[in-house]
């Protein structure tokens, strides 16, 4: 039964993917980028023939998309087609004519799935190239972002979890710190950015600080909640076994509250990954968030979309890692 559901869900996922890609493809498809032929009226034809231009040459250039005005210029050169070609074509002689690049694109400017696929493949094939400050492999940029998240998040966990224990175990501390937490928690992480930039000065450290502050609250409140709600029976077991407060915290309360704490950490890593992209857009320099903004400014939508896609994949992997950790500490009552 489960297998059947798994199979069906996979089938449905693939269908949605294919339909989505197909709609994307259809919306961005450019059918033919070559020049379209020009239809000449009988009067224009007669004028050109009157200037001693061969009818087969007129027909040839017209199908190349050369307009009447330019055809008149060609006629006034009074050269045969073979001579023009030998001189390097009409463009070489200073007459503007459409080529493959100047043909108007009938479709959208938005990159098609095939373009994204190509760009994605190029990124995967060479993720760590450095060709200049604004042209680095996405692997390197992703590394910058991950490093910032790692530092900010670790600092945050080092503060939030012990503090959460304190708040959870002591009603006095809970009451004393609760107003501050309630006011600071709803502040958007990016609102801290100007304060950080002004006080810290360094943009690198500022984005790490923003990661720190946005990861703090879910971990803090979840740890405090988990610790405060450990079943009193288990605490009584620790008490009747004369365990010290530290030992009780480590051997009874920590494993009992671990699932709630990890849930908080999982929420935090998600928020940290959301915020780093926005923070890097703001401060610039390096990082995958900066890449998105940089490629947008350069109108390389294909590279921008690949970067966005990679942000999603890395976020998913981070979440999956914490989901695994969550399963490891889970227990059934």
């Amino acid at each position: 039964m489960v297998q059947k559901i798994d199979m069906r869900s996979t089938l449905l996922s693939l269908t949605i993917l294919f339909v989505g890609v197909f709609i994307w493809h259809a919306a961005t498809h450019v059918p033919d980028t070559g020049p379209t032929g020009v239809e000449l009226s009988q009067g224009e034809m007669d004028t050109l023939l009157g200037k001693n231009m061969l009818s087969e040459d007129i027909e040839y250039y017209a199908t190349q998309g050369v307009e009447f005005a330019q055809l008149e210029q060609i006629a006034s050169l009074n050269l045969s087609r073979s001579m023009i070609e030998a001189a390097g074509g009409i463009q070489a002689l200073g007459i503007s004519a459409p080529d493959e690049n100047s043909a108007p694109a009938p479709g959208s400017l938005f990159p098609s799935p095939t373009q994204i696929g190509k760009e994605l493949w190029a990124t995967i094939a060479d993720p760590f190239y450095v060709a200049g400050t604004n042209d680095m492999g996405f692997g390197i940029q992703m590394g910058y972002s991950l490093l910032r998240v790692l530092i900010g998040y670790s600092l945050s966990a080092a503060v939030a979890i012990p503090l959460g224990f304190l708040i959870g175990m002591s009603p006095m501390f809970y009451k004393a710190l609760d107003p501050f937490i309630q006011v600071l928690k709803p502040i958007s992480p990016l609102a801290w950015m100007p304060i950080a930039l002004f006080t810290i000065g360094d943009s690198e450290l500022s984005s790490i600080f923003v990661i720190f502050i946005c990861s703090l609250w879910p971990m803090l409140t979840n740890t405090a909640f988990g610790v405060a709600n450990v079943r009193s029976d288990w605490v009584n077991v620790a008490r009747t076994h004369e365990l010290s407060t530290t030992k009780t915290a480590l051997t009874v309360i920590l494993p009992a509250a671990a699932p709630t704490i990890i849930t908080g950490m999982r929420i935090s890593i998600g928020i940290a990954w959301l915020v780093i992209v926005a923070a890097e857009m703001l401060v610039g320099g390096t990082g995958i968030g900066y890449v998105v903004w940089n490629e947008w400014n350069g109108l390389r939508l294909d590279r921008m979309i690949v970067a966005i896609l990679l942000i999603g994949v890395v976020g998913m992997l981070l979440d999956a890692a914490f989901a695994r950790l969550q399963r490891a500490v889970a227990y059934a009552e």
Partner: protein, 305 residues
């Protein structure tokens, strides 16, 4: 008379009743337990049995009164008083073995891990748990098995006083029977002092040396201490044929059925509320043979302590 092993003196417990007044659960309760004695306490819900248990365990502070065990006043929980809780209170993230080891390691911090494990396995085997089962988590064990682990954890620590808070209350009748037998088997080999709360009259008669009877609350008191005059070792299918069995049982049923209510509900002033010792023994030759009502006063030998 020598000083009893455990003596509860003038114990009073009051709680705020939510309307600004105080609710007196029990007042000036005074009783004692001898070393190696198995005492059961019987009474209706709300009479404060569990509160007495929590005070003895050191998990709750009485409003007034003292508990003296082995010459020392109780304050706070201690490894000398092991507790088996009604809901097992096993740590769900540890296996059965690790749960017992948790207790043993707390009792003997100087032991090596292998010593702790060997000791724990021995006590798990005593309650009939061995092999694969001891490596399972509590959620993978049946209710009866969980309570066995809990009992093993308590016995393994050799507490001076073992407190059992309705340990079989959540089990079905058949499982309850087997675990009662196992408890008796372990207890026979130890000389362990046990104080147990129960709702089950037959369980109390099977296990106890003495049964304390509590009246209904508020102002509950330990009204009687009934001696179980049935020789040990006891087996459940044999004791029912003992001449004292139904006499004692009827007395208990009468007490819980009507007298617990009649005796309930008044503040008794400042005097100590000691239980009246009741001894029912049909095997003694000098007992006059009368009607079968065990509450009949002529039939009872009431001895005040």
């Amino acid at each position: 008379m020598t000083k009893p092993f455990l003596s509860v003196e003038l114990l009073t417990q009051q709680f705020p009743d939510g309307a600004g007044d105080t609710l007196t659960v029990f007042e000036n309760a005074t009783f004692s337990v001898a070393e190696g004695e198995f005492v059961c306490i019987l009474g209706h819900s709300g009479c404060g049995k569990s509160t007495i248990m929590n005070v003895l365990a050191g998990l709750a502070e009485p409003t007034s009164g003292t508990v003296i065990m082995d010459g020392e006043e109780i304050s706070g929980p201690s490894l000398d008083r092991g507790v088996v809780f009604q809901n097992y209170s096993l740590l769900p993230w540890l296996s059965a073995l690790k749960n017992v080891m948790f207790g043993v390691a707390a009792r003997h911090p100087d032991w090596s891990k292998s010593e702790v494990q060997a000791h724990s396995e021995k006590y798990l085997a005593m309650v009939g748990l061995d092999g694969d089962a001891i490596h399972r988590k509590p959620s993978q064990l049946s209710g009866g098995m969980r309570q066995r682990v809990s009992i093993a954890r308590a016995f393994a620590n050799h507490p001076k006083l073992l407190l059992l808070d309705e340990p079989f209350g959540a089990l079905d009748a058949l499982t309850r029977g087997t675990i009662q037998d196992e408890l008796l088997k372990i207890w026979n080999g130890t000389n362990q002092t046990v104080f147990m709360i129960t709702h089950d009259i037959d369980e109390a008669i099977l296990l106890a040396d003495r049964i304390l009877l509590m009246t209904n609350g508020p102002f509950a008191r330990v009204a009687e201490a009934v001696e179980i005059t049935i020789p040990r070792p006891r087996r459940r299918e044999e004791i029912i044929d003992h001449p004292n069995y139904y006499a004692i049982r009827n007395h208990l049923v009468h007490f819980l059925g009507s007298r617990s209510k009649e005796l309930a509900g008044q503040s008794s002033g400042s005097g100590a509320n000691s239980p009246e010792t009741i001894r029912i023994d049909r095997t003694e030759k000098d007992t006059p043979e009368t009607d079968d009502d065990p509450t009949h006063q002529a039939h009872l030998r009431a001895v005040n302590e």
